[in-house]
């Protein structure tokens, strides 16, 4: 399958985002944050915790409109966006399959999802309720929901946080499997450099608050060649380019 959507990239240009606390104290979270993600690329937004990564994502998802600046989502194809949140955010009163189908537009509700459920190892769990799933399985269901919509752009907010290392690694491989079946412009927020190096085409490095782009790290290497040794080389050149960022 070829990348879907016209050539328009994801373009972000946020001039400023300020939070005002109840006591009247204002905190500037983002300042002059601008970057681009070319069509069909997987980018990671890497930065120290509390620097405004999730805030950026909430702005792009349209959940926070109190900011100055602009952004442009990739157009063409479905024009839909999909998100995998920090928590799986599955509706507890609907089964796994209902959760996935509800996110689909009406005309796609009946589409065949067997391949997607098979790839994610959820084939036997379609009729379970989220409370009956482990956290790892719930996260897989959240991935299934995001990919089922065939979005024009996919946002992931630390989707593998609070999982043990083995489960997280397994989920990363599954994510790559479904993503490569249909490469979608994707932006993933993470503070885990190893995760970013394993998944991304490019890493957008953010400064501490007020956050702006420190620089972009392009990983030229195809994912299948990123063995332990190659990853160490990548890590070394990353630290050369961004000393002090871990």
């Amino acid at each position: 399958m070829q990348p879907v959507g016209a050539a328009a990239p994801l373009r972000v240009d946020i001039a400023e985002k300020t939070f005002r606390s109840a006591q009247g104290v204002s905190v500037t979270a983002l300042k002059n944050l601008s970057f681009e993600v070319p069509n069909g690329e997987f980018a990671c937004l890497l930065g120290p915790s509390g620097c405004g990564k999730t805030t950026t994502l909430r702005i792009l998802l349209g959940l926070d409109r109190q900011f100055s600046g602009s952004f442009q989502l990739p157009e063409g194809g479905s024009n839909r966006i999909a998100a995998v949140f920090q928590e799986p955010t599955l509706l507890p009163w609907r089964t796994v399959e209902q959760n996935v189908r509800l996110a689909l537009p009406k005309e796609l509700r009946v589409k065949n999802l067997d391949a997607l459920f098979d790839t994610l190892g959820l084939a036997g769990m379609r009729s379970l309720y989220p409370a009956e799933l482990s956290l790892g399985l719930a996260r897989r269901a959240a991935l299934a929901r995001a990919f089922a919509t065939e979005p024009a752009v996919l946002f992931l907010d630390e989707p593998f946080v609070s999982l043990d290392g083995r489960t997280a690694g397994q989920l990363r491989r599954l994510l790559l499997d479904v993503w490569s079946a249909r490469p979608t412009t994707a932006l993933m927020v993470t503070h885990n450099l190893a995760e970013a190096l394993a998944l991304a085409d490019r890493i957008i490095v953010l400064s501490p608050r007020p956050s702006h782009v420190l620089g972009v790290f392009d990983i030229g290497l195809p994912r299948q060649h990123r063995g332990p040794e190659a990853t160490n080389d990548l890590l070394r050149s990353f630290h050369q380019k961004f000393p002090g960022v871990s």
């Binding site: 955010t89 507890p92 009406k106």
Partner: protein, 275 residues
């Protein structure tokens, strides 16, 4: 809990089958209830024998009246009229109360403005609302049902307002990202989260409403259980009063067992059962 093979049990739970279906476990509570009610009846019968008086008939006499009224068809006619009013008032109160409660729970400014109104209406005695409704709107069915609903609405508002305040915004955000339609949001996001509050308002609502409906019938209607009780009060026929009361309590019990509880079980089927 009876012992079962481990694998069997998880499968049963996954398929939504209760693991507690052993006949003894379901029979025991029913048996307890029966024995308990029989005990009450026996006590009543002993007391009626000890103090024989037309003002205190025994269970046998009440049963005779019940059979007589049922044979003439009067019982079912009046039960039906009352039940219809209970259902109508319940529907009006639940819908209006839920809409107002959800709005007040969602908009803090509106809540601050209207909260005194809610407290005011909570504290107006039912009798005052009924009398005023009959004076202003006449002795008709709409005034009767409206008066009962107005009595119940503030209670529903208070419960549903709490429910709306407890809504989890992350589900609404998920629905916004995935572009749920307005109908889907109500059905899959809003109502399931409000279900415990709806159930609480319904439970307390039905019990309160049918008592108020009786007063409404007593004051201004020409049929229904309340009207009959008023009639037999003037004739000093305590057996008939008790017969009508017990018949309606029995109807409400059947509704609870056959309608309210199954609906609630269905609505909460997704909750993890306690192990």
């Amino acid at each position: 809990m009876t012992a079962r093979e481990g694998g069997d049990r998880t499968l049963g739970e996954a398929a939504g089958i209760s693991g507690r279906s052993a006949p003894a476990a379901t029979l025991m509570p029913a048996l307890t209830v029966t024995v308990s009610l029989l005990g009450l009846g026996l006590l009543w019968s002993l007391a009626a024998n000890a103090w024989p008086s037309p003002a205190f008939p025994g269970p046998g006499q009440v049963w005779q009246v019940l059979l007589r009224e049922a044979a003439s068809g009067d019982l079912f006619y009046h039960l039906g009229a009352t039940l219809g009013r209970v259902a109508a008032a319940y529907l009006v109160a639940m819908i209006a109360g839920s809409v107002i409660g959800i709005l007040l729970g969602s908009y803090r400014r509106a809540d601050r403005f209207f909260n005194p109104w809610v407290i005011l209406f909570l504290n107006i005695p039912a009798l005052v609302i009924i009398v005023l409704a009959y004076i202003w709107f006449g002795l008709n069915e709409a005034a009767a049902i409206g008066a009962v609903a107005v009595n119940k609405i503030p209670n529903v508002v208070v419960t549903m307002r709490e429910g709306a305040r407890a809504l989890d915004p992350s589900y609404a955000e998920m629905a916004a990202v995935y572009r749920f339609g307005p109908l889907d949001r109500v059905r899959h996001i809003l109502l399931p989260q409000l279900q415990p509050y709806l159930a609480a308002a319904s439970r307390s609502g039905i019990a309160l409403i049918w008592k108020i409906v009786l007063v409404v019938e007593l004051l201004g209607r020409s049929n229904g259980v309340g009207f009959q009780i008023h009639l037999y009060f003037q004739l000093f026929d305590v057996a008939a009063i008790l017969a009508y009361t017990l018949a309606f309590v029995a109807v409400m019990l059947v509704i609870e067992l056959l309608l309210v509880q199954p609906v609630e079980r269905h609505a909460t089927r997704w909750r993890r059962r306690p192990a």
